[in-house]
């Protein structure tokens, strides 16, 4: 406790003057606060509003760790991408790998060695040249330094060694043939060895917040307010050319409502993760352009399919009926994806059938109409009847032991759409006679329950990387009942195909294998695939004309697996940066605000408060106390 107080004081000393001044000032200025602060301060802050060249992004996820060896959250990796360039990067058009720090790469004959040729004349933001040694340093840290493994250990899992044979050449040797290497290097930001060399020992606790941070991406870090905001400045030395935005800020908002309000008010320039209702309103607000981007994300319901763990043991308490593929099929038939997409996603999603979303058309398979499972409660019921699940008294569906079937359905309480979907699913399954017990819980709890197998159904969702290897690898037998993995399903044939595609250097042949694997998952109903959700974003179109989306046609601005969105941001009156791909035509039109204006809001609320206040006062009338000895 003693220490807490001491560090508290330290904290005050080190932090910017804000709180310290505030504490003192609050005491002094409190009385005049309501009177003075309102009229006087507002114009001051207004004057501080950035003029044109600042892009303020409202983020609702946590800003946690800016050390690229450790940051794993969406915002952390996003900032990492902006600060540090990669060897290769998924392109804006269709996310296929494109040269970045590496100009070219070639596999060896045996497929186990990859040679990367470095781009010449590329510099760190401090003017030092970027060489193959930096690449070697970065990769070796991840492979050998325990403190540097958190973020990208998986990406280098198959690597045997990384060597800079000369300043312009890097050689990566893998333990086995792995075509996904190119995808992996597209995830690892390269850090400058000359800066990080002496940080190696304490890399675990290095926060990488002392500005200016030497980087190589389109922006360099220039300021951090822990947990609250990150400020980046345009990197003059960026090899594709300086971005047109001078300053990029990521500001933390606690919810999308606050973020949308900030956008409407002009406190923020770019907002994402909007709800359909917010999107529709922002769409109609003047000065704001809304964009529904095709995302690399899918939503599904995973099931406890009863698969055994790698060591042959059973796990958890899943309802055994889910081990029956016919039962799973019936459930799949009972989900009306159209309704979900229309009602929950406001139409901003596509029906899902497979793991790899359509933004990666190379890897998706074509589902034949006869195999497709459509919404059909009648059919679902007849499948169940045929499979021997009778209906008991009151229409409850009975399992093979004659007990009514109840399935537990878990959803994350920080994802509103899951709770909403759950209500529909509950009613649809109810029409099969299956009772659904829905619980909305914290994501960590959900993870715990799904890992230990104490669930029947659970919402899940993934953002899929450009290379299918990663996503497909989540469905392997060895991952059943572990903290890893997606569907907890086991099919030895699938595992065999997985190894096969990993070693397949021929892209077409690999495609075929990948598609077959996905067909297998679909036929086996490994999960109830629900939707590919669009990312709903909006920005101040009166301050920015274009952003580069990924994929370039109707894709997303934020959450990209690249830096295109922020790099290609073009303030009004500017031309896009030279190195940015062309932004596609935006389809959304910019129209005047209809809806209830904020003035109307204010009037309604004030009116209501007055009415209620009046009621309260009426109620609060107290009888006069007569024995009053006052004069």
């Amino acid at each position: 406790m003693v220490r807490v107080v001491a560090t508290g004081k330290q904290g005050r000393k080190r932090s910017r003057r804000g709180p310290a001044i505030g504490v003192v000032a609050a005491a002094l200025g409190m009385a005049m606060l309501p009177a003075v602060a309102v009229p006087d301060v507002a114009p001051v802050a207004k004057a501080e509003q950035p003029q044109g060249k600042v892009l303020r992004v409202a983020v609702t996820q946590d800003i946690k760790k800016l050390n690229p060896f450790q940051g794993t959250s969406l915002v952390d990796t996003q900032v990492g991408r902006l600060m540090y360039e990669f060897l290769v990067i998924p392109n804006a058009t269709d996310s296929t790998p494109e040269g970045a720090l590496a100009e070219s790469w070639t596999p060896s004959q045996d497929g186990k060695t990859w040679t990367f040729k470095m781009r010449k004349g590329v510099q760190w933001s401090d003017g030092q040249p970027i060489t193959a040694k930096d690449v070697e340093f970065t990769y070796n840290q991840i492979m050998t330094n325990p403190g540097a493994k958190d973020a990208n250990e998986v990406a280098v899992a198959s690597f045997e060694s990384v060597k800079a044979t000369d300043p312009e050449t890097v050689e990566i040797r893998t333990k086995f043939v792995n075509v996904a290497v190119i995808g992996s290097v597209g995830e690892i930001p390269i850090v400058p060895e000359h800066v990080w060399r002496d940080k190696v020992a304490g890399i675990k606790d290095f926060k990488n917040e002392q500005t200016p941070v030497v980087g190589s991406g389109p922006y360099v870090l220039s300021g951090v307010e822990s947990g609250r905001s990150v400020t980046l400045k345009a990197n003059d030395k960026f090899w594709r050319g300086r971005p047109k935005v001078d300053t990029l800020q990521m500001v933390k908002y606690e919810n999308t409502e606050a973020a949308s309000q900030a956008l409407i008010k002009g406190d923020a320039d770019l907002v994402y993760n909007l709800t359909p209702a917010q999107y529709r309103t922002l769409e109609k607000t003047s000065g704001i352009k809304a964009s529904a981007g095709r995302n690399r994300r899918f939503t599904e319901i995973i099931m406890h399919t009863g698969a055994k763990k790698a060591d042959g043991s059973t796990w958890g308490t899943g309802n055994p009926v889910l081990a029956d593929v016919e039962f799973r099929k019936a459930l799949d038939h009972a989900v009306n994806r159209k309704t979900l997409i229309e009602k929950v996603f406001g139409g901003y999603a596509e029906e899902a059938t497979q793991l790899i979303p359509p933004v990666y058309p190379d890897w998706t398979f074509k589902l034949s109409d006869d195999k497709k499972r459509n919404f059909d409660i009648g059919k679902a019921n007849s499948i169940l009847d045929a499979a021997g699940y009778r209906k008991g008294d009151g229409g409850a569906r009975l399992d093979k032991q004659g007990k009514p079937i109840t399935l537990r359905l878990l959803s994350r309480n920080d994802r509103a759409e899951q709770a909403q979907m759950a209500e529909y699913v509950k009613e649809w399954f109810g029409q099969l006679g299956v009772t659904v017990d829905h619980k909305s819980i914290a994501s960590s709890q959900l993870n715990d329950d799904t890992t230990s197998g104490n669930f029947d159904l659970s919402f899940s969702g993934w953002s899929v990387g450009p290379d299918p290897d990663n996503m497909l690898g989540q469905q392997l037998c060895k991952l059943v009942g572990t903290e890893l993995g997606d569907t907890n399903i086991c099919n030895p044939e699938y595992d065999r195909l997985f190894a096969q595609q990993q070693a397949e250097l021929n892209k077409d042949k690999r495609k075929e294998t990948v598609q077959r694997m996905q067909q297998m998952l679909y036929d086996n109903v490994s999960a109830i695939m629900l939707s590919y959700d669009k990312l709903l974003e909006a920005y101040r179109s009166d301050r920015f004309t274009t952003f580069v989306t990924q994929p370039q046609n109707g894709g997303i601005i934020n959450n990209q697996s690249g830096y295109w969105g922020y790099y290609g941001a073009t303030p009004v009156g500017e031309t896009p940066p030279a190195g940015a791909p062309k932004a596609a035509e935006q389809t959304n039109s910019d129209s005047d605000s209809s809806g209830l204006g904020t003035g109307g809001w204010a009037a309604i609320i004030i009116g209501a408060v007055v009415v209620l206040g009046g009621l309260g006062l009426l109620g609060a009338r107290r009888k006069r106390v007569s024995a009053d000895d006052r004069e």
């Binding site: 007569s626 024995a627 009053d628 000895d629 006052r630 004069e631």
Partner: protein, 550 residues
């Protein structure tokens, strides 16, 4: 005759009482009182609680609650108080007439130093000029404190740091601060011990006389008033029933109520009052027992070197006391002398530090279960019957409580009826369903006694059994104790600060001082010829009118 200092002309005060069910009704607290006081005169206003004497006194400075309505005229120095403007009234308050309030403990503001509180009216009324210097005020405060015989340094004290007597002195100093012509003293000594009471009365009378200040003193104790005031006025149910020279009123009371008041305070040493508390009960009084100074052979209750220590304070410091069967022993002493602690230790409510209690020759156990049996034999009667009865329990429940605890066999109702009869609440049926607040003080005390009698005990320990009762009731309860002793052979240990009570009913008296018994013996010998100086000082402190034959 010159103009009187204070004159009440047909004064009435009504309270607009608002009962729970919101029906407003008027209470006539004072009805048509006419009374006057000459400058420098001392007038005693006597009466029982609720007779309107305090209301009358407070009306002088119009300190009545808002709900009160004042009729008639109150002339203070010729000026009618009832029609004064607020501003004029504020100016008159304290400057023309000041008040010594009842219970100085509450009348002083606990968070201000007493010096400041004394100085407040001085500054306010400009008795030292319109804006007196701090040092001038301080000097005046010091002077006042000296006059009331308090050390000057005490000006910096807070009220709670003072004893009751000291606080009352502060009140007197405060009352004198603006040199008023009139002081109203409302029960100024009620909460104080006999000895302190005498000192404070002496002081006040002396200061008032020296300065020629008129004094209206209010008290329920006729003896106190008679010993200080030249004239007495007696109020009863809002009306003035008698007034006249003090000696005359005391010696030849005319109104029945005055007689009752006068009789309630026995004259210690006068054989007329021996075993004869004032009672109008048709049951009369039992014969006086034959008494002897000899210790009985087999005492009912005996304590042996009983000690109770509270963190270094010896509340009871080695007491040997005995009570014989059928004997009434009075335990006399000032507050703080340890007599209540002794009583509690006897009852096993307070675990003694050392020593022991013997009942019928057997040592009283200390365990809860052992005590339970003992407690059937020894019962407690508390000082304030109002708080000794659970306001939510009917008389029946209160009396039956002990029966239920001890699971006394037999018909509960009959036991209760018998106990109520024994306590002379007749007919018992009428009282059973009644709640305590519907009873008078004396009846409540009878209920408490009935609750004790229900268990058919051998000994009653009565802690100030009549101290909170009105004077006219006091005698009845004491007579009841005497009759119970005569009828049931009930022994009693009566704890009191009142020597008159001991004289009224006790066989023997034990005088307690600082935790020790300084004198024990037959009432007649101890109170007539005390051997210890402390007993003597207690006797000296009695108001002069009530001490005879020494």
């Amino acid at each position: 005759m010159s103009q009187p200092l204070l004159e009440f002309r047909d004064v009435s005060v009504h309270y607009r009482a608002r009962a729970a069910d919101t029906t407003a009704e008027e209470i006539h607290a004072v009805r048509g009182v006419s009374l006057s006081l000459a400058a420098g005169e001392k007038l005693g206003l006597a009466g029982e609680s609720g007779c309107g004497k305090s209301t009358l006194a407070m009306s002088v400075l119009r300190l009545l609650p808002k709900s009160a309505r004042l009729e008639g005229e109150i002339l203070l120095d010729g000026e009618d108080i009832s029609t004064m403007s607020w501003g004029r009234l504020r100016a008159v308050r304290w400057a023309a007439g000041s008040v010594v309030f009842q219970g100085a403990m509450n009348a002083l503001n606990p968070v201000h130093r007493i010096g400041d509180q004394i100085a407040e009216p001085i500054r306010l009324h400009g008795s030292l000029g319109s804006s007196p210097s701090t040092s001038a005020v301080d000097r005046r405060v010091a002077e006042l404190l000296e006059q009331v015989e308090l050390p000057v340094e005490r000006a910096r004290a807070y009220p709670h740091e003072l004893s009751g007597g000291q606080k009352q002195r502060v009140m007197i100093a405060m009352a004198l601060a603006c040199e008023p012509k009139l002081i109203i003293a409302d029960e100024p000594t009620t909460a104080l011990d006999v000895v302190v009471q005498a000192q404070v009365l002496d002081l006040m009378t002396r200061l008032v006389e020296e300065r020629g200040i008129g004094l209206v003193m209010i008290s329920h104790d006729l003896a106190v008033l008679a010993s200080t005031c030249e004239r007495l006025a007696v109020m009863y149910q809002g009306e003035l029933v008698e007034q006249g020279e003090s000696a005359a009123v005391i010696a030849r009371p005319e109104h029945a109520h005055t007689k009752a008041l006068a009789a309630a305070f026995p004259t210690v040493g006068d054989p007329v009052y021996r075993y004869a508390p004032a009672t109008s009960s048709p049951l009369g009084l039992p014969e006086a027992p034959s008494t002897s100074d000899d210790e009985p052979a087999e005492p009912l209750l005996r304590t042996e070197d009983l000690r109770v220590t509270f963190g270094g304070t010896h509340a009871v410091a080695g007491v040997d006391l005995s009570v014989a069967p059928g004997e009434i022993v009075a335990l006399v002493g000032q507050s703080g002398s340890g007599k209540t602690t002794l009583a509690r230790a006897v009852l096993g409510l307070q675990r003694p530090t050392s020593g022991s209690v013997y009942f019928e020759g057997e040592r009283v156990p200390r365990s809860a279960s052992g005590l339970k049996a003992y407690r059937r034999q020894v019962q407690l009667v508390l000082q304030d019957p109002t708080s000794a009865l659970n306001p939510r329990h009917s008389v029946y429940e209160a009396v039956a409580e002990g029966l239920r605890i001890h699971k006394v066999p037999g018909d509960e109702r009959e036991h209760v009826a018998a106990a109520l009869e024994a306590a002379e609440l007749r007919p018992a049926d009428r009282y059973m369903s009644v709640l305590p607040h519907e009873l008078s003080g004396g009846q409540r005390q009878r209920v408490v006694i009935a609750g004790a009698l229900a268990l058919e005990p051998r000994l009653l320990v009565a802690d100030e059994p009549v101290a909170s009762l009105d004077a006219s009731v006091r005698g009845e309860i004491l007579a009841l104790l005497l009759r119970l002793r005569a009828r049931l052979g009930l022994a009693a240990l009566v704890i009191t600060h009142d020597l008159g009570l001991a004289w009224n009913i006790a066989d023997r008296v034990a005088v307690m001082f600082r935790g020790e018994l300084v004198e024990v013996g037959a009432v007649d010998s101890v109170l007539r010829s005390p051997s210890h100086s402390y007993t003597q000082s207690l006797l000296d402190a009695l108001p002069s009118a009530s001490v005879l034959g020494r």
